[in-house]
């Protein structure tokens, strides 16, 4: 099963402390060598990006910063793992590093499973519940 772990935070974006950066680098290196992590990356602040929106049937391009945005995505990692528990364990370990090396930081690491053809049925169940 493939997962994307996404880190979000509502705090003003700042780079990781040197200690956290080093710890994250070590962790990524280990996970790649263990053949578990397929890809990972950090995202630049949203102020440097843009949003393409559809509102009231109109398409528009808006440059950052976006005052109304609460949760900013800071980075992601893609894993190939056996089950959700493994993805959660990876997220817990990742967040523990933040707790240890960047006190005061608050945020969320969201664990999301990739959609796959086998998952289609599950999504249809969701759609039925939603409709």
């Amino acid at each position: 099963m493939r997962f994307m772990n996404i880190v979000t935070s509502s705090q003003p974006m700042r780079g990781p402390s040197p200690a956290l950066a080093e710890a994250m680098h070590k962790l990524a290196d280990r996970e790649i060598k263990a053949g578990r992590m397929l890809d990972s990356g950090g995202l630049m602040p949203v102020s440097m990006g843009a949003q393409v929106r559809i509102t009231d049937g109109k398409l528009g391009v808006v440059d950052g910063p976006f005052v109304e945005t609460k949760e900013m995505i800071g980075g992601y990692a893609i894993f190939e793992l056996r089950d959700k528990e493994e993805a959660v364990a990876a997220a817990v370990e990742f967040m523990q590093l933040h707790k240890d090396h960047m006190p005061g930081w608050e945020g969320t690491c969201e664990v999301r499973m990739f959609a796959s053809p086998e998952m289609e049925d599950a999504c249809q169940v969701d759609a039925r519940i939603a409709s």
């Binding site: 280990r30 060598k33 263990a34 053949g35 528990e85 959660v88």
Partner: protein, 451 residues
């Protein structure tokens, strides 16, 4: 050790409201195994380095898992699971060394070091290696030692490199747990008794030993990709385990062209998994597959790995050539765009390396698509008396297909029936029987005298 807070996890729920109806014992078990599995490679490599005894290190890694399964549901997952597991493993190591008849000088020294560490209240975490690459490579070479049978190598590699439990390996290979456990015990005994060097081979020995590793990785992948026995066409988890080992190898031995070639082959074949069967689980042939279901992310990884193999001078390698063939399919947007002449060429090149009637049969298929069924049938007929293909269902299956294209329906039907009788997989059998039956009616339409 302070319990780590795990919001929303089975363990936290268990600690807070045990026994919770929502959390089954299986959920908790999976959570513990998941945490252990993160630590398992580092635990195993560190212990192997410390004890210079891979089988013992492996036992201790498993014992640490059992201890975690026993304690963590009650205490929560410790904040530093690696240190906790290492402490347990080292304590058990001392017990083993004290109790065992292993009074060899090597063990005496290790035991003395461990005792001194225990007394000094060490930081267990610091005993764990940060960079496990070299150690992991040594471990892979040990688990896949040519002195062990292929089956034993596969079981050991799954256990030591992917952290599978004996039960998981048994289920993956559709074998009783006792069979796998005996296989592992015997393999470990061979490793212990033969005093095989625990090291990364160098020079000329390296390529020979690497071939032994790659063979096992490919065996594991293929076992999942085309399960030879039983009703399930695919056991994708084994594919993922093979892929994972391929990724491990290419990241810790990045200069080995054939490792990249094998990874490319597995990624490219793996990219079609979702498209290979229909909803009923019946196989769909390559040319009939919905290419929209092919995993483009995986195809890209495969193409990159193949490019890497070529950069390293490995374009003509056994796995790289096969990967190049699969890449021809992966990069064709429609079946009509398949570059069959190129594929036939690649098979011909492969055939100069490995004299294999199976490769020749595959070349025949490509030639059939490039130059027509008659040219292909000539190759296939030359293979008719190959002893290696006597029980190989794809020989009559390919022959049947070519005969059908030549309009020789009755001969084609007989060929498909022969193929169905040889196929080991129930679903494949059914597919072949269906083709034979369809041809039966086609033959009757063309030849009224057969009615």
């Amino acid at each position: 050790m302070p319990a780590r807070s795990m919001p929303g996890s089975p363990l936290e729920a268990r600690a807070a409201l045990a026994p919770s109806a929502a959390m089954t014992a299986a959920d908790i078990h999976r959570t513990v195994v998941a945490v252990w599995r993160i630590e398992q490679p580092r635990l195993l490599t560190s212990l192997s380095r410390l004890l210079r005894d891979v089988p013992l290190a492996e036992d201790l890694t498993q014992e640490a898992l059992l201890a975690a399964i026993e304690h963590w549901p009650v205490t929560g997952v410790p904040e530093k699971p690696s240190a906790w597991l290492m402490a347990i493993a080292k304590r058990r190591a001392l017990d083993h060394l004290r109790r065992g008849q292993m009074l060899a000088r090597k063990h005496e020294i290790v035991a003395r070091d461990l005792e001194q560490e225990q007394q000094a209240m060490p930081d267990w975490d610091s005993a764990l290696d940060d960079d496990i690459g070299d150690e992991l490579l040594r471990l892979i070479f040990t688990a896949c030692h040519p002195r062990l049978s292929r089956e034993a190598r596969a079981a050991l590699a799954l256990r030591m490199i992917c952290g599978l439990t004996t039960d998981e390996i048994a289920r993956a290979f559709l074998l009783p747990e006792t069979t796998i456990s005996q296989r592992i015990v015997r393999a470990k005994r061979t490793l212990s008794e033969s005093g095989l060097a625990y090291e990364t081979p160098r020079g000329a020995e390296l390529s020979e030993r690497l071939a032994s590793v790659l063979e096992v990785v490919y065996l594991i992948f293929n076992e999942g990709y085309a399960a030879a026995r039983g009703g399930e066409w695919l056991r994708p988890q084994l594919c993922n385990d093979g892929l994972r080992m391929g990724r491990v190898l290419t990241s810790i031995a990045p200069q080995e062209a054939e490792a990249h070639g094998l990874l490319a082959l597995m990624e490219l074949n793996g990219s079609r998994i979702a498209a290979r069967t229909d909803k009923a689980g019946d196989p769909i042939l390559l040319m009939d597959q919905n290419r929209g279901l092919w995993d483009q992310f995986q195809i890209r990884r495969g193409i990159l790995a193949l490019a890497r193999a070529r950069e390293l001078g490995g374009a003509g390698g056994f796995y790289a050539l096969q990967a190049a063939i699969v890449a021809c399919h992966a990069e064709a947007a429609t079946p009509e765009e398949t570059p069959w002449p190129r594929i036939a060429e690649l098979y011909a090149e492969l055939a100069t390396q490995v004299r294999s009637p199976v490769i020749e049969l595959n070349r025949a298929v490509a030639v059939g698509m490039a130059d027509g069924p008659q040219a292909a049938l000539e190759i296939v007929e030359r293979l008719a008396h190959e002893p290696m293909l006597k029980a190989y269902h794809l020989l009559p299956s390919v022959r049947g297909d070519l005969l059908q294209k030549l309009g020789r329906f009755e001969e084609a039907r007989t060929a498909f029936e022969a193929a169905a009788a040889l196929a080991g997989n129930r679903r494949e059998q059914e597919l072949l029987k269906r083709r034979a039956a369809e041809l039966g009616s086609a033959a009757r339409r063309c030849r009224p005298d057969l009615r």
